[in-house]
Amino acid sequence: MAVHTGIGFTLLGGGIVGLAWNAAEPESREAPAWLALVAAVAVATVTLCMWYALSSGNAPGLAPRVPGVAPESTLPNVTLATGLLTAILLGWSVREGQVSRRRARWLEVTNRALNEEIQTRTRMEPAIQQLAAIVESTDDAILTTTLDGRIMTWNPGAERLYGYTRAEAVGKHVSMLHGRQHNDAELFRKIVKGERISRLETENLTKDMRRIEVSLTVSPILDQSGRIVSASTIAHDITDRKLLDRMKDDFVGTVSHELRTPLTAIKGFIELVADGEAGPVTDTQREFLQIAARNSDKLGVLINDLIDMNLIESNRLEVRLVPLDLAAVLADVASTFRVMAQSKGLALRQNIAPLPQVLGDSARLIQVFSNLVSNAIKYTPNGEVGIHAAATDAGVEVTVQDTGIGLSREEHAQLFTRFFRGRSSVVIEAGGTGLGLVIAKAIVGRHEGKIDVESRPGEGSRFRVTLPAWVAAAAGPDGSRPD
């Protein structure tokens, strides 16, 4: 009876293992991790049950057993040993099977990845070679550094610019190039944060302690997972450009002084004679002297425009912003140009509403509106010129409107580019440098305002300048803004 019970349990155990096996995903054919354990436990349980059944079946009616003596007591023990051994072997083999299958799969995946990488590399090889050739041949210094500034790579451009060979530079700290002009720690802090430093113009030191001026672009280098691992630096030598800039500035400064002094004498002596301070003048003489005076004024404007243009190009146009009443500025401009308008038979209308204060440089704003109004008068053969100003949500809007020759689409597009002048006979006759509007735009820009134009040929033009209102809390105590 006990033997039958044992066999029954064995079948039951086998059934459990079989069910568990089937429950595992059929496609993967890979036993789940717990299967080995279940199988082993099942076999072990069956064995223990059989052993119990066998030994209890023999027990009743038997004299107390003497170990190793009773022959009928060996069967349960053999069964137990065999069963446990089977359980261990079964567990171990299932586990081994799993491990080897997993390994095979891992190998397969790795192999596929390797193949893909080889293919990618093969595809990228020409591109990499090209990039390497560019890095090797450029005149710019290109170097990579660790995130704390140690030099890792150093191209021939860097050898030429700084004088250190690759062997000398690699492993050193970049501070050897920087002198004390900028803060390395600050720069690398930005890089670590993922920021890029673009065209930082600074001074560097060469191996022979020469100071050179460079434009630096420093960018973070990321690894495949997107982590910032190092920094690349491109240094462009701008020593010559800086020298040229300085020479140009000096030249413009000298020329403007050298032109202004004789012009002062010309203007002044013409004035003295024309005003009759040096003796009586005939009407014809006065008329001729006035022509000479007007032309010397034009020369004066040209010189000022050239100086302003130089300031704008070198980003040194200064504005001194103070809270001011734009209505007063506009009234001033209107009164200056009233005579000029009248002499051409044009009406000069002004419609200036009460305006909020704006932050502005009055001399510069007078320059802007004088330019717009004088252009309007110059390019309007008949009709009128209007100056309108009104408060808007954001600040102040000033329009200078005329009934003049207007602008073609082509002229419109180029209006704010330097030296641009219209081609009509009116424009040519009126004269001008083609700098006024460029300067006006730059000045308005320094006031954080905008200038635009609406115009059609023959229908006049409408220039609109918008300036932000002054909000007292946003400005410094004197309303000035740091430059």
Partner: protein
């Protein structure tokens, strides 16, 4: 009639200014450089000084600084004459204690008007 010291190294410009101011009824004394301007300011006690910013040797701004540092000359109004319209020059002139400035090329009528204004004007407190 006022006594006006004109410090200007360009002879023709100085001639021109002197002519205009004399015609306007003033007495003009002339200096060709900064040192001479300092000397004449002390010896001739002018009522107004016109200083060219760019003079050889002692420049106009330096003369201005010395005038304003001198207890007896501090109260004499100074008009700066400059060939640079730069904001910075103008401001350093005004901060240095000049009452006014003119930028070359200037109109003589305007210059004469500014002279009259400066002669009539009370001296603003100066910060040396």
């Amino acid at each position: 009639m006022a006594k006006i010291l004109v410090a200007e190294d360009e002879k023709q410009i100085a001639d021109m200014i002197a002519f205009k101011l004399t015609n306007s009824g003033h007495q003009v004394i002339r200096a060709q450089d900064g040192e001479q301007a300092m000397k004449l300011a002390r010896s001739d006690s002018p009522d107004l000084i016109m200083l060219d910013a760019m003079m050889p040797g002692l420049g106009g701004f330096e003369v201005l600084r010395r005038l304003k540092a001198d207890a007896t000359l501090r109260s004499v109004p100074v008009i700066m004459v400059t060939a640079k319209g730069h904001e910075r020059d103008v401001l350093s002139g005004l901060r240095g204690g000049a009452v006014d400035y003119v930028v070359k090329p200037f109109s003589l009528k305007e210059l004469a008007a500014r002279v009259e204004l400066a002669l009539g004007k009370e001296q603003p407190p100066t910060t040396p």
